[in-house]
C-alpha cells in the first residue's frame, strides 16, 4: 500500500506550492502517472479519498494523464510501445531495452484561485 505514501507526497507538494503562490483554493491538480510505475490506480484512488477527507483538497479536481509505456531496443534501435517491463523488442526479440516513457510520477501543474 505504497500508494498512500505517494498520495501524501502529492498532498505535501500541492500544499507547498499553493502556499508559495498565495492561493486560497486549489481547484485542479494535473499529474502524470506512467503505466509502468507500480501505482495501482484503484488503491491510489482509495488512498486519495482518505488523505484529502476534511481538508482543503477534498473538492479539488484531479486530472491524471496516464503515460503509455515506450521503449527503445538497445540492440536494433527500434522504438515501440510496451505494456510490461519484461516485453521483448518486437523487431529482434531482444530484452535489452531502454524505457523512454511510462515511468513518470509527477505533479505537473495546479489551477488555483
Amino acid at each position: 500500500m505504497h500508494e498512500l505514501s505517494i498520495v501524501m507526497s502529492i498532498v505535501d507538494i500541492v500544499n507547498q506550492q499553493a502556499e508559495a503562490s498565495n492561493a486560497s483554493v486549489v481547484e485542479e491538480i494535473e499529474m502524470d502517472i506512467g503505466c509502468l510505475t507500480t501505482v495501482e490506480m484503484n488503491a491510489f484512488e482509495f488512498a486519495w479519498q482518505q488523505a484529502v477527507r476534511d481538508t482543503s483538497l477534498e473538492k479539488t479536481i484531479k486530472k491524471i494523464n496516464r503515460i503509455q509505456g515506450k521503449a527503445q531496443c538497445m540492440d536494433c534501435d527500434a522504438q515501440f510501445s510496451i505494456e510490461n517491463l519484461y516485453d521483448a523488442c518486437p523487431a529482434c526479440g531482444e530484452h535489452l531495452i531502454h524505457i523512454t516513457a511510462g515511468k513518470e510520477l509527477r505533479v505537473k501543474s495546479l489551477v488555483v484561485t
Partner: protein
C-alpha cells in the same frame, strides 16, 4: 460551492466566472472572485525521498561505505543470509546492519547475536523503508569508514521497489520454495536490482522449482542482472556471494 464564503446555493456544484455577481441562498451579496491562475509545478512525486536518498548516498561515498538494500518477500531468508555472512566474514570486514520490519526487534536480536552493530526500524503500518528512516538510522549508528552497511528492507516485493534509500547495490532474494514466475509477477523489484540471490537451493530436490526458468525470467526484465544460487543452510554457493561482496568493496587507497 463558493470559494470565498463556502456557501452552496442549491446543494449542487455551480460554476462561476470571475468578476460576476450571484445569489447565495437566503443571504444575497456580491463579491469578486480572485482570478484563477495556473501554477507550473513539474515536480517528481518522490522528489523529497530522492533528495534524502542522494544525501545518504553522498555520506556513504564520502566514507567509502558499501551500502546494500536487501529486498525480498517475507521468508526468503534475508536475515539468515545476513547471519551467515556476518558470522563468516566479520573478522575480515566491518559490518553494520539496519533492520526494517513492521513490528518487533526479532531480526535485530538475531543480528546482534553475531556481534554486529544493528539498528531496528519499526515502520508500524508502513510497508517499506524510505530514505528519511535510513538517514535517522545512520545518524544514530555512525558507521565507520570503509565498512559495509546492509539495509534489510521490509519483506515485500512491491512497495520497496519505488523508494531509493541511497544504496549502492540493490539485492533481491528469492527462494526455491517460491514460484519460478516470481520475477514476472513482481517485475519492478527485479528491474531495479543489480543482483538476484536464489536461496534455499538445498531444497531443490523437494520442490517443483525450475531454476533455469527463474533465471531466464529475471533476465527478461533485467538482462544485466547478476544471479547467485546458494543455500544458507548447507553453505553451498555462499563463496560466490562472498566473492561478489568483496569485489564491490573499494579499498581505501583507491578512493580519493
Amino acid at each position: 460551492m463558493c470559494a470565498t464564503c463556502g456557501c452552496d446555493a442549491n446543494g449542487n456544484v455551480t460554476m462561476h466566472q470571475p468578476g460576476h455577481q450571484h445569489e447565495h441562498g437566503d443571504h444575497s451579496h456580491s463579491h469578486v472572485h480572485p482570478n484563477k491562475k495556473i501554477v507550473d509545478v513539474e515536480k517528481d512525486v518522490l522528489h523529497e525521498n530522492d533528495l534524502l536518498a542522494e544525501r545518504n548516498r553522498g555520506y556513504f561515498d564520502a566514507k567509502n561505505i558499501l551500502s546494500m538494500n536487501l529486498v525480498s518477500s517475507p521468508g526468503s531468508g534475508k536475515t539468515s543470509l545476513l547471519e551467515r555472512t556476518l558470522t563468516d566474514l566479520k573478522t575480515t570486514l566491518d559490518f553494520y546492519v539496519i533492520e526494517g520490519d513492521q513490528q518487533t526487534t526479532n531480526d535485530a536480536d538475531r543480528i546482534h547475536a553475531t556481534g554486529t552493530k544493528v539498528v531496528q526500524i519499526n515502520t508500524g503500518k508502513g510497508c517499506h523503508l524510505d530514505a528519511h528512516m535510513v538517514m535517522h538510522a545512520i545518524q544514530g549508528m555512525k558507521p565507520k569508514a570503509n565498512s559495509i552497511l546492509f539495509i534489510e528492507n521490509v519483506g515485500n516485493l512491491v512497495c520497496p521497489a519505488m523508494f531509493d534509500l541511497g544504496e549502492k547495490e540493490r539485492v533481491v532474494i528469492i527462494s526455491v520454495t517460491e514460484g519460478d514466475d516470481k520475477p514476472l509477477k513482481y517485475p519492478d523489484m527485479f528491474f531495479s536490482s543489480t543482483l538476484c540471490i536464489i536461496n534455499k537451493i538445498d531444497l531443490l530436490p523437494y520442490v517443483p522449482f525450475d531454476i533455469e526458468k527463474v533465471k531466464a525470467n529475471a533476465k527478461k526484465i533485467n538482462p544485466s542482472m547478476e544471479i547467485i544460487e546458494l543455500s544458507c543452510t548447507s553453505g553451498e554457493g555462499l563463496q560466490n556471494w562472498y566473492e561478489w561482496l568483496k569485489s564491490k568493496v573499494l579499498s581505501p587507497e583507491t578512493v580519493y
